[in-house]
């Protein structure tokens, strides 16, 4: 997915909000906005949005000296979802279709995002997700492929969301490799966050090797690209990973909630809609 003109003011807003989380020094934040502003003319609109965002988040680190501005927030999000875990497990166990319920909840967790869409209430989102209609629903294909798959490659997205991912991984009952970001960026899941979420108890955790808030293959390590190409089944969580992977040529199942107008337009659905979408199948 390419960068839209609308992404530019949004990224300026992200720079401001994240700058404020990283520092209370307004002059540093102004310097950050200056740097982002200066960069706009160099943004190729055929880059994916997460490639463009990477520059901003690197600048935040560089100018504020804070490597992981969302560290505390990510820890809080993970703790909050871990507290809800018994309730989430009960929802899955009591469901007529535990796999589908676990998918629904894993999508609910996708709202814990401090990038494009910053306002959410996780309990409300869980309630909503239980019976929200899917705008794209390739569930038959998913069940079919899951049944045949010996192992699953699961591309994580946000840190708090990874606790929901753990529940889906447990529910699928297949060996899973869980992919995290190489370095902290926005509130995306890193190795440390995934371990805090308990993912290591149910999956092997690896890094994509990329510094982007999404899987963008050309920026990943050869080792990861090999795993991606050879995986029986790939589950890609969230908007950023969709933006990065929507044009790859292997089958991928995307689980996400459309959190901005642009991705909604790209997927021909409404903002707020939920998606289980297969490509190349």
């Amino acid at each position: 997915m390419k960068t839209y003109l609308d992404c530019i003011p949004c990224m300026m807003e992200q720079a401001l909000q994240t700058g404020r989380i990283a520092t209370s020094d307004e002059s540093k934040i102004k310097k950050l906005l200056d740097a982002v502003g200066d960069k706009i003319k160099d943004i190729p609109l055929n880059n994916t949005p997460p490639e463009t965002a990477t520059f901003i988040y690197q600048k935040i680190k560089e100018i504020t000296g804070v490597n992981d501005p969302y560290k505390t927030i990510k820890e809080q999000n993970i703790r909050q979802v871990i507290e809800l875990y018994p309730y989430l497990q009960e929802l899955v166990n009591k469901s007529d279709d535990p796999l589908l319920m676990a998918i629904r909840l894993a999508i609910a967790g996708n709202v814990i995002d401090y990038g494009a869409h910053r306002h959410f209430h996780i309990e409300d989102e869980i309630e909503k997700s239980i019976d929200q209609d899917f705008a794209v629903f390739d569930y038959d294909k998913f069940q079919n492929d899951l049944k045949k798959a010996k192992a699953v490659l699961y591309l994580g997205d946000n840190a708090g969301e990874s606790v929901f991912d753990k529940l889906l991984i447990e529910t699928m009952g297949k060996p899973v490799t869980y992919v995290v970001r190489e370095e902290p960026i926005i509130n995306d899941v890193t190795m440390e966050d995934a371990i805090n979420s308990g993912i290591h108890e149910v999956a092997e955790i690896i890094s994509s090797g990329a510094y982007t808030p999404a899987i963008i293959l050309k920026l990943c390590t050869d080792d990861f690209i090999e795993k991606f190409n050879e995986a029986d089944l790939v589950i890609s969580k969230g908007q950023g990973n969709y933006e990065g992977l929507s044009e790859v040529d292997r089958p991928v199942f995307f689980l996400l909630k459309a959190k901005c107008e642009l991705i909604a337009r790209e997927l021909k659905i409404s903002k707020g809609a939920i998606v289980l979408k297969a490509i190349n199948l």
Copy 2:
């Protein structure tokens, strides 16, 4: 009022939205965002927001070649409010306090704004304004000063709003000089718009001489500044004029609705609140 860091992403968004109204050529709009981005480092934060916005709207004219992007929209807004005029007159005539009702309606008209706050529904706003509590309410002072004033200098704001201003001017029953922008900027009221609204039937219309979407004295003509300083009573409509005039040293009555968080913070009120505020009295 100074420019806040929050104004920067907002202005980028305004550039995008107005660029889209002016042209459908995405490459021109990108060029506009590039130019605005480049300018950020030169924005002095102690400038008022409308001074900063002026650069953006000048760039829009320069890059798109469109002198008045909101021309059609302003005409539609004026026509819409003129159609409502008999109803508005009735509200005033039937009120226990016609002057206060005319003030309330003149503030309702302040939402017709394509700058900071672009989403509004004018009929809803009228209904709301009829009994909304004022967050600042210097009405006694206003009545008192109006009684003594031989003439009123009335600083217009947006084009559609000027039809509401006409009703307040009629209700006050004093000789009024109505001040418009020198050139089209955002959807602010120009000489042509004020005449379309029928202001010439109830007041003398003059220009401030400034190219800003607000009265900023240092950018106005000497002739206007003299009129401003010598006026018996000054009524200033809207957020932009408040941003430009909040620190002048003569009495001014501000009528506005707080349409963004920053002006709300500045006035120590909530976003959406309505204000009749006197300064230097």
